[in-house]
Amino acid sequence: MPKSARRLDNGHPRSLLWAEGALCGVAAALSPPTALLLAGLLAPGLVSLALDGLPGKPVARAVLLAGVTASIASLRQLWLDGTSLDAALNLLEDPLRLGTAWAAGATGWLISELAPIIARLLLDARSLIRAKELRAERERLQAEWNLPASGQPPPSATP
């Protein structure tokens, strides 16, 4: 395996991890208030990013995306307030903002957890309906052609 393509245990490319880390470092260096605000608002997403062991980190992705969606307004407010550390801290001290962002993250997590279950239920239901249709067709054929349940023709029915 080429060195550049090596992956971590969770399947995430090691190079991408480094790139993300570098990007975050650069963003924090360029705008510490923004980085602070995002770190506070997206804390559930960052935690889930660390905890999500699934390939592609689908749970963390959903939590982060939901958290980012809920943080847009706060980021915009930060930038309107001059992008200072105080402004960032004021915003973080607002429980409504923080709760909204975290609730959005929780919603992302919930969607990510419920969606496979609902999909499973739908797929199972579809299979059950199909099996029922097939059994009905089989019974109809058995009745029409006077076949035993095994599906084999009776001895005298062999043409």
Binding site: L54, G56, P58, V59, R61, A62, L65, A66, V68, T69, I72, A73, R76, G108, I111, S112, L114, A115, P116, I117, I118, A119, R120, L121, L122, L123, D124, S127, R130, A131, L134, R135, E137, R138, L141, Q142, A143, E144, W145, N146, L147, G151, Q152, P153, S156, A157, P159
Partner: protein, 671 residues
């Protein structure tokens, strides 16, 4: 004996079943002694009103002589009760029977005339009996026929000074009703039904015995049983045995000596009998059989000559075969009769027997006896396990055995399968037409060969007896000799609930139809179907009946079609599709009352539709296979579905949150 018109009871014109639509049979007016040993009734020709007729009744196991009836149709032979018609008519006890219509005898029989009177004079015998009888026999001979029922109680005369008339001899197998004394010993020893048409020389013999009876005023050897008569004739010669010490006029004695010769070739022809002087001068010198000094005991009887020995061996075949095998017969013949050539031939036959089979081989023993009898007495008929019969008597013998249903039928079957006739002919040299007999034997065996013995025997019996009625229990009470009548008889049988429970076809019916209509193929199919499923058998039955219906347009037969339709329901099993079967059943019910069989067959035996049905079944089976595979796949796909649901769920979550983010960004950008 004439029955005047006034003697007839008034005819009940309506409802009277007429024979061939013309002859009314007065079953209430029996004519005792007129039928030559068979029951006879007065009859009347309705169209012409002719009433001097009689109907002679046949019996089921003894069919009328089809060949003679066919050849004498429309003929006029003075001095003979010519058959005028034949067919089924009402039986006195109810039901149907078969009659041969003949003119009524002109008066009492010679037996009745001579019962209480003195012997006839030579002139009377020659003028009133010999000449008219010889004319009749000559006429029959010219047509290739024989009478075979010449005896005093079947010869009639209007009075003592009138030429005689030979009676009816057509309603029973040839010579089957003749007492042993009136037949040559080689015919008398045969089973009554197996005597065959014989030759005109046999009629000359019977005429000779009749003349002798009239000359003596009594029947010779009347007090003896048939076996004694035969043995006496064999050991002493026919003339000597019959005349004994009786004094006969010289002319008559000379005539009778030739007429009663054992060898048919030595008897004068009927034409020669018309010229009495020539016939008298034609003396044939025959040596009496050589008599042994000491007899050979066989079965408690003593044989003094080769002919008697042949008869004893023929009638006691098991003991005869044993004595042949242990050399007792050949030793006796060589020592007592000095017939070394005969003894050597017999030894050769015994050696063949030893090579042919083991000591318990019954068939080899039977063949040995058959051949040995032919060697010992070349004039004797073929003999098989105690049954003697002439080759042309096989048909009636089979009919009689079939009617009795006894083991004789099995013996006759073996007789034919073993080609006994051909083996016998081979021992006869130029005395018989070996080629024709071999061909006959092969033909009979071909008829006999079938999947099961019963069908083969029935087929052969019907083939050899054109006027034998079908013996199927389904036709009980009806005398069916023509295939056209079969469907009508079945239509009548269909009205009887106890018969309706049976199939409208059985061995006798199938064999009868196949033989009479040359539908051998359908018989083969029916026989094959008997071993298969019921639905195939039903179709085979239907095929036979429809083939018959196609040849005889008899109009609707509603009872029979309903019967067939009931049975044909089994044929619906050939169809696999339940809906198709239900539709067919409905159509079958509609056809059941139509009275036609062909549409029923067409409905059920439709190869194209059956093929489509079979293909439908195959398609259904294939589809069921696909369904089973898919169901198995669904049952085993839980893990796959879980993985798919996980993937879909995660993608959905990602997609939903990304969509929300995008919408938020767009909203933020727009202000």
């Amino acid at each position: 004996m004439g029955t005047s018109l006034g003697a007839f009871p008034p005819s009940s014109a309506a409802g009277v079943k007429l024979l061939n639509g013309q002859y009314e049979i007065m079953t209430a007016v029996p004519l005792p002694g007129a039928g030559g040993g068979l029951p006879a009734f007065a009859a009347r020709h309705q169209p012409s009103g002719r009433a001097d007729l009689m109907a002679v009744r046949a019996s089921p196991g003894a069919p009328p002589r089809a060949n003679a009836l066919a050849r004498l149709e429309g003929e006029v032979i003075p001095g003979l009760l010519i058959p005028l018609a034949h067919g089924s008519g009402p039986a006195p006890e109810g039901g149907e029977t078969y009659y041969v219509i003949c003119p009524e005898p002109p008066g009492p029989s010679l037996a009745a005339l001579t019962a209480n009177s003195s012997p006839w004079s030579e002139a009377e015998i020659l003028q009133y009996v010999l000449r008219p009888a010889a004319h009749v026999l000559e006429a029959l001979k010219s047509r290739g026929l024989t009478h075979r029922a010449i005896r005093p109680d079947n010869i009639f005369s209007a009075g003592t000074k009138n030429p005689v008339v030979l009676g009816c001899a057509w309603a029973a197998p040839p010579a089957s009703l003749q007492p042993a004394v009136f037949e040559p010993p080689y015919t008398a020893m045969c089973a009554p039904a197996g005597r065959g048409d014989g030759s005109i020389a046999d009629d000359v013999y019977a005429l000779g015995v009749t003349l002798l009876t009239l000359a003596l005023g009594r029947t010779p050897l009347a007090e003896r049983d048939a076996e004694t008569v035969i043995l006496t004739k064999l050991s002493h010669g026919g003339f000597e045995a019959l005349t004994a010490d009786a004094e006969l006029p010289p002319l008559l004695a000379d005539l009778l000596r030739s007429m009663l010769a054992e060898d048919p070739a030595h008897r004068p022809s009927p034409g020669l009998l018309l010229d009495i002087t020539t016939a008298r001068s034609r003396r044939v010198t025959t040596r009496p059989p050589r008599r042994a000094q000491r007899p050979l005991a066989l079965n408690g009887a003593s044989a003094w000559d080769a002919r008697s020995l042949a008869y004893q061996i023929a009638t006691h075949p098991e003991q005869g075969a044993r004595m042949l095998r242990n050399g007792a017969v050949t030793d006796w013949i060589r020592r007592e009769l000095g017939a070394n050539q005969v003894a050597s031939t017999l030894e050769e036959l015994v050696r063949w027997r030893a090579r042919e089979g083991g000591p318990e081989d019954r068939r080899a023993d039977s063949i040995l006896v058959l051949r040995a009898v032919a060697v010992l007495d070349p004039l004797a008929p073929p003999s098989w396990r105690g049954i003697s019969l002439w080759p042309d008597g096989v048909g009636p013998a089979l009919a009689a055995a079939m009617a009795k249903g006894n083991e004789e039928l099995t013996e006759l079957r073996d007789f034919i399968i073993s080609h006994a006739i051909a083996l016998w002919a081979a021992q006869q040299g130029n005395r018989v037409d070996g080629g024709t007999l071999r061909q006959q034997a092969q033909q009979m065996e071909l008829w006999l060969r079938a999947r099961d013995g019963e069908t083969g025997l029935a087929r052969l019996t019907y083939a050899l007896n054109p006027l034998l009625p079908c013996a199927s229990p389904l036709l009980a009470g009806r005398w069916v000799v023509s295939p056209a009548e079969v469907l009508k008889a079945l239509e009548a049988a269909a009205a009887q609930p106890e018969l309706r429970r049976l199939a409208p076809m059985d061995t006798h019916l199938a064999a009868f139809i196949a033989v009479r209509q040359e539908l051998q193929f359908y018989l083969d199919v029916w026989e094959a179907a008997r071993a298969g499923p019921p639905e195939r058998l039903v179709l085979a039955e239907l095929n036979l009946l429809v083939a018959l219906e196609a040849r005889h347009n008899l109009g609707p037969l509603p009872q029979l079609s309903a019967w067939v339709a009931e049975r044909a329901k089994a044929a619906l099993e050939l169809w696999h599709s339940r809906s198709r079967r239900a539709a067919l059943e409905q159509q079958l019910q509609a056809l059941a009352t139509g009275g036609r069989l062909q549409p029923i067959l067409a409905l059920l035996d439709d190869p194209t539709a059956l093929q489509a049905d079979a293909e439908g079944l195959q398609n259904a089976l294939a589809r069921i296979g696909e369904i089973d595979a898919e169901l198995a796949q669904i049952a085993a796909g839980s893990t796959e579905r879980a993985a798919l649901a996980e993937r879909i769920g995660r993608e959905f979550a990602a997609g939903a949150t990304l969509a929300a983010l995008t919408a938020t960004l767009v909203a933020a950008a727009l202000g």
